[in-house]
Symmetry: C2
């Protein structure tokens, strides 16, 4: 029977180390078609995390790590210029319907708590936040924030049921001058807030200084730490630089402290990275952070395509996942330009489902290609309904096909408007195949 | 002084082998910021082609090969269900404005010649075709086509000024039974037409049998041959299979014959290929085809995303170009579903400009990253106009930004609606940087 979680330490890694299999591990094992014992062992060594706050009641747990399929996260949330729980709920439902495996609520602005409550109630996927956004919202200037204030927010969010939090604990005071030499400086919101605070007070990073208090909260609710990369490169020119790797080394030390405290931990990654440096970046994280699951943002492989950064980053994300990343944080077409609309969210989620799936196929995970083969078989059979059904975005695929085939008899025809009936390769190929078989 | 081209053999490779530098080579050298001698030497050994029909009067030549930046081709053209010269001209102009380096007119249907004439007159980029489409258009059934008929069409198109033609010469009769064992069979339109013809007549591929006559036409007009991959995989399941590589070996033999005849030649590539097999495919082409420029279609890295195949394929194209492909044939979101609209063409061209550029950066071509750095600098300076100007699609980037910033004072503000004024990472980072410098 699976282990229910009660007591002072309720983390998955705590039970795994005792050799116990929790309900959440069972659920992940079933979803991934793997043995529960394997899931438990991977959780025990920290190569797999299952973000699962004991207070997130409707959670359907997801595993994130090397042993399981690649996951994608979708960021939603209001901004100070636009903040509306109904719209964010609409985005959430769209993300889930398109297959997002995790959701982050990055809300800033006036209605943070209500938006998060509403999202949590409707989110069976693990939900993450960046608590410093709420901490900052409660003070006049970011310098007014205190360590107690920030930890208080984290505890409140943990009690509310947040499954994972991004905390920029590894950006140290000593790193800031290195980062100021960059072309684009510090582009992480949490990172720049933390740097501003440290500079103003001439003190060390408050979450680094109070890391044990943070771990204590995580142990009691099983909040998974996502160690943020406050110094992720925000331009190709800054990729793989001293600042980025200095922070990564610190994150590696914090990973060890998390594991000692039986707190689940993953590490966040870049950013903007030229295509040829991505595999190296994945290896470097494995080496520096003892194989903690790597949760990467893109990376974007060129800076020159605002309006299309779901594509620039899906390219990097595929390479990242192929080279070992465990979860991909989506980027929408409106990245760098504005707050994403529903259509942007759709484009972002699908682009990332593509990246994660392409990497699963390329890594030859058992069964990963089955859906590809089934769709291609349906294509050959001109079974359009089945083609749409097996598509990542059935609604969009059907719409595009129907738009191009206005007459009802064309909609289900054994050809499409690309080639027309006379030149349809699929149709000709079928005839060739049948004729070859007759002769054989 | 540059060599003007007259006489029986007018191909770039002919002049290059005599040690002469043509106007076209000069033009390519200038565009690529390379020495004319290098361009000439690369053309001489066939590692670089400059498709440049002597009758394409308004041509601004492009080099395609390992020594120069990666190029992209956009396919346009009417179908038998929709054929309209005005609409195709509109697509052409859009492709050129977004930076397409080459154009293929894949028209089938009633107005092939007029559409091509109109496109050629308005196309400074090299223009290619698939002549079998026109040859088939002239007969009742594809079996009625003759070798003379097909070569006649090629000669007409050569006279008209077509710079390169896709010819499926390497798909032999012996390959067909191998291909019928596949999940998706023969998905190339030209390939399936050729297979149908060979099977019906029980004869060898007419272009393979008449390859010398084809070379003779090419020599007189300098038409570059693009050896089509009639057996490219049309599903992940068929990638890198016996049929694909059997044809590739034949193409390698034909490359040698082209070079003996002083005809410029490139080779076309897959198709649908899992991400992990792409680099191997690029290497295999180099080995089998003696480094002839590889012109690849995608490849698409998953079959499950109809409606988003500009993305599935831009991922593969980036990996392909990084691993050595010289030109990328774009795929639009409507691939597999219908004939692309103007918006689909826009999405396809930009996705491929991203892929080609990301690969140029990753291959560390001199100066490749300059535009990225300039755009990132403009971003840091909140110089939105300059950001848009440097973008691959300035119009779309500006539109997305303006949509998200309705009040005039927000449009040029030193923050955006993603973070709002209070949490803008860029703004905070600037202050951190200034403050750090003051203290130093």
């Amino acid at each position: 029977m699976a282990q229910t979680r009660t007591g002072e330490v309720v983390t998955q890694i705590h039970y795994a180390r005792k050799g116990q299999i929790t309900e959440e591990m069972l659920c992940v094992a079933k979803r991934e078609k793997l043995e529960p014992e394997l899931i438990r062992d991977e959780v025990a060594i920290g190569r797999l995390v299952i973000p699962s706050n004991i207070n997130h009641k409707n959670l359907e747990p997801q595993g994130i790590g090397d042993a399981v399929t690649c996951k994608i996260n979708a960021n939603i949330g209001g901004s100070s210029l636009r903040s509306d729980a109904t719209e964010e709920l609409r985005k959430l439902k769209l993300c889930l319907s398109l297959g997002a495996d995790a959701i982050m609520d990055l809300s800033v602005g006036p209605h943070i708590t209500e938006i998060r409550r509403s999202l949590l109630e409707n989110c069976p996927a693990p939900l993450g936040t960046v608590p410093i956004y709420e901490a900052i919202e409660r003070v006049e200037r970011c310098e007014d924030m205190t360590a107690d204030g920030l930890l208080g927010v984290i505890e409140e969010q943990a009690r509310q049921g947040v499954d994972f939090v991004t905390v920029h604990c590894g950006l140290l005071k000593a790193h800031v001058p290195i980062a100021t030499r960059r072309l684009a400086g510090i582009v992480s919101r949490g990172g720049s807030l933390t740097a501003t605070w440290m500079l103003h007070h001439d003190r060390e990073n408050p979450l680094f200084d109070n890391f044990d208090r943070l771990l204590d909260i995580c142990r009691r609710y099983d909040v998974t730490l996502s160690l943020g990369d406050g110094l992720r490169p925000g331009a190709l020119a800054d990729a793989s630089d001293e600042a980025q790797f200095a922070e990564l080394e610190t994150l590696g030390q914090l990973v060890a402290r998390c594991r000692d405290a039986e707190v689940q931990v993953m590490v966040e990654g870049p950013g903007h990275v030229p295509f040829d440096q991505i595999a190296m970046n994945m290896q470097r994280e494995r080496d520096s952070c003892d194989e903690a699951p790597f949760y990467i943002l893109g990376p974007i492989v060129t800076d020159i395509a605002p309006g299309y950064d779901h594509i620039t980053s899906a390219i990097g994300a595929t390479m990242g996942a192929f080279s070992g990343a465990a979860m991909l944080c989506y980027v929408t077409p409106r990245e760098h330009l504005g707050l994403p609309t529903l259509e942007d969210v759709r484009q972002g989620v699908v682009a990332y489902k593509i990246a994660a799936h392409a990497a699963d196929v390329a890594r030859r995970r058992p069964g990963a290609r089955d859906r590809d083969d089934a769709l291609s078989r349906a294509r050959v059979a001109f079974d359009w309904d089945r083609v749409f059904e097996l598509s990542l975005d059935p609604q969009r695929a059907r719409m595009m096909h129907d738009e191009s085939h206005v007459r009802p008899e064309d909609k289900k025809a054994d050809y499409c408007s690309m080639c027309g009936p006379k030149h349809c390769a699929m149709k000709l190929s079928k005839a060739v195949s049948e004729s070859t078989k007759r002769r054989a």
